[in-house]
């Protein structure tokens, strides 16, 4: 059995005397689609920055794809991909140029980059021509291409930041099929989002507030725990509001 995709234990990150992440522990298995929620300023981004190898833990441990921080996060960086629907592509470059640029950043040799491009576009089922400028691509295709760019170096763990916010419903359905396909291929997928319809599609969801992990379970179980009354039928947003505001008191 291989190591979990992400293993965080008693993780603490401090900036001066501000504790951004306060003794957070959780494990994400390979092949899981894991949602990561929290109010603005809850410590989500800081946690993700650690898991991408961009920020060292103050204390506690974090392992990503079985790797630790003994080399300062360098090995971890090579095993993670990051995609935000908003910022990862250059609109004035073509689809192909964007992928070549992503491959260049990861120092892939050109032959390997071409092979990866073919594999990825085939896996994703990307249909537009690679010669199209990104700014002329419809939203759904843009984010498929952004995912390909984030995966040029064959990462084990993929972070998706609000991957389908603003995408038309048809593109959104296609993209979630793709996310499950990635998980099915053994990748670990972490989705950060403010949108509960995205969170609903995750196998398990972690909720952060003021640096602490305050809930972690499947969407259905979180609803049952927060609203135990039979027939309550809460939305995940109701759960979010109740748990976060409850912890405020």
């Amino acid at each position: 059995m291989s190591a979990p995709g992400v293993e965080v234990s008693e993780l603490v990150v401090r900036f001066g005397d501000f504790t951004a992440v306060d003794r957070v522990s959780f494990t994400v298995e390979r092949g899981e689609v894991f949602g990561f929620l929290g109010a603005n300023g809850a410590g989500k981004t800081t946690t993700i920055r650690v898991l991408c190898g961009l920020l060292l833990p103050t204390s506690g441990s974090a392992r990503v794809a079985g790797l630790d921080f003994s080399d300062g996060g360098k090995a971890i960086k090579s095993k993670v991909g990051y995609m935000s629907q908003k910022f990862t592509l250059y609109p004035d470059l073509t689809a192909g140029e964007n992928l070549a640029f992503a491959a260049g950043l990861r120092k892939l040799d050109p032959g390997l980059a071409r092979e990866r491009t073919r594999e990825l576009l085939d896996f994703i089922g990307f249909t537009p021509a690679l010669t199209v400028l990104v700014r002329d691509l419809p939203g759904g295709f843009k984010q498929e291409l952004a995912l390909a760019a984030a995966m040029m170096h064959a990462p084990e763990v993929v972070f998706l930041d609000e991957p389908t916010s603003g995408v038309a419903p048809a593109g959104r359905v296609r993209f979630w099929e793709l996310i499950y396909k990635l998980a099915g291929a053994g990748k670990t997928v972490l989705v950060t989002t403010h949108y509960m319809d995205e969170a609903e599609r995750c196998g398990r969801v972690a909720l952060m507030r003021a640096g602490k992990l305050i809930a972690l379970d499947s969407p259905a179980a979180l609803k049952r725990e927060a609203f135990p009354k039979p027939g309550a039928a809460p939305s995940l947003e109701d759960v979010f509001v109740k748990l976060v505001e409850g912890a405020d008191r």
């Binding site: 603005n40 038309a168 048809a170 403010h194 509960m196 979010f240």
Partner: protein, 241 residues
């Protein structure tokens, strides 16, 4: 006064793309009017045409006050617009923003005091009035943008994706605040890419690829079309991407 807005056959060409392809819509006075659609649907272009920032390539916009036709100049002073990224000053505090905008609108001191206190209370930003805008969370920043727009007590408000990137709790508070605004018969036109927010509007207009897919009261639209959510309607009527 209650402001109505109607568009007829609006087309807007931006470079090679047609952002609006024949948009005919009627925005109801004194209620929350939602413009719902994915990124690239033409929402921002439509709002910019409605406020006179962009001239349409074809088609017209007609305004009315209390049911009677009115020129743009007549409604202009009572119009407030909040762009996707409200242009606030990172180094000014919440309180300083309110003072600055009150000056711009030439509000009398007594009116300013009353409105700013009320706004700080309902937005729950009283505690943060000395915090600089650059240090506010995403939700608070959007609330401050809305407060600056509300200071002049507008009769027509246009808000471009005010809840984008805002966490669920702040989003809920934001919509409650808008509910209070429309209780005063302010006409609000608000755009969002977030389908679930359609239900919070009195009327919605679904926009995709520069065209109107459907218009109406959310509950009626759902009943008529036999759907649970508006995503379904986009899937049925919209394009593939």
């Amino acid at each position: 006064m209650s402001v109505g807005v109607e568009t007829s056959g609006l087309r807007k060409r931006l470079k090679a793309n047609e952002a609006l392809s024949g948009v005919t819509l009627s925005f109801e006075p004194g209620v929350l009017n939602g413009v719902i659609g994915p990124d690239g649907a033409g929402k921002t272009t439509l709002l910019r045409v409605l406020i006179g920032l962009l001239a349409p390539t074809e088609g017209t916009v007609a305004y009315s006050v209390d049911g009677r036709p009115a020129g743009f100049d007549a409604i202009r002073p009572g119009m407030a617009y909040m762009p996707q990224q409200p242009s606030l000053y990172p180094d000014l505090s919440v309180r300083e923003h309110l003072e600055f905008f009150a000056d711009l609108y030439r509000l009398p001191a007594a009116v300013y005091r009353e409105r700013s206190e009320e706004l700080l209370r309902v937005t729950r930003l009283e505690r943060f009035q000395d915090r600089r805008a650059g240090r506010l969370s995403g939700g608070m920043y959007k609330k401050l943008g809305l407060m600056c727009a509300l200071l002049q007590s507008p009769s027509l408000m246009l808000l471009d994706e005010p809840t984008n990137g805002v966490d669920p709790i702040s989003r809920r508070e934001f919509w409650e605040l808008l509910g209070r605004v429309t209780a005063r018969k302010v006409t609000v036109i608000i755009s969002t890419a977030y389908m679930e927010e359609a239900d919070r509007c009195a009327r919605v207009h679904l926009l995709e690829a520069g065209k109107v897919l459907a218009s109406g009261a959310p509950a009626e639209l759902k009943r008529e079309r036999g759907i649970k959510g508006f995503a379904e309607l986009f899937l049925r009527l919209g394009g593939a991407a």
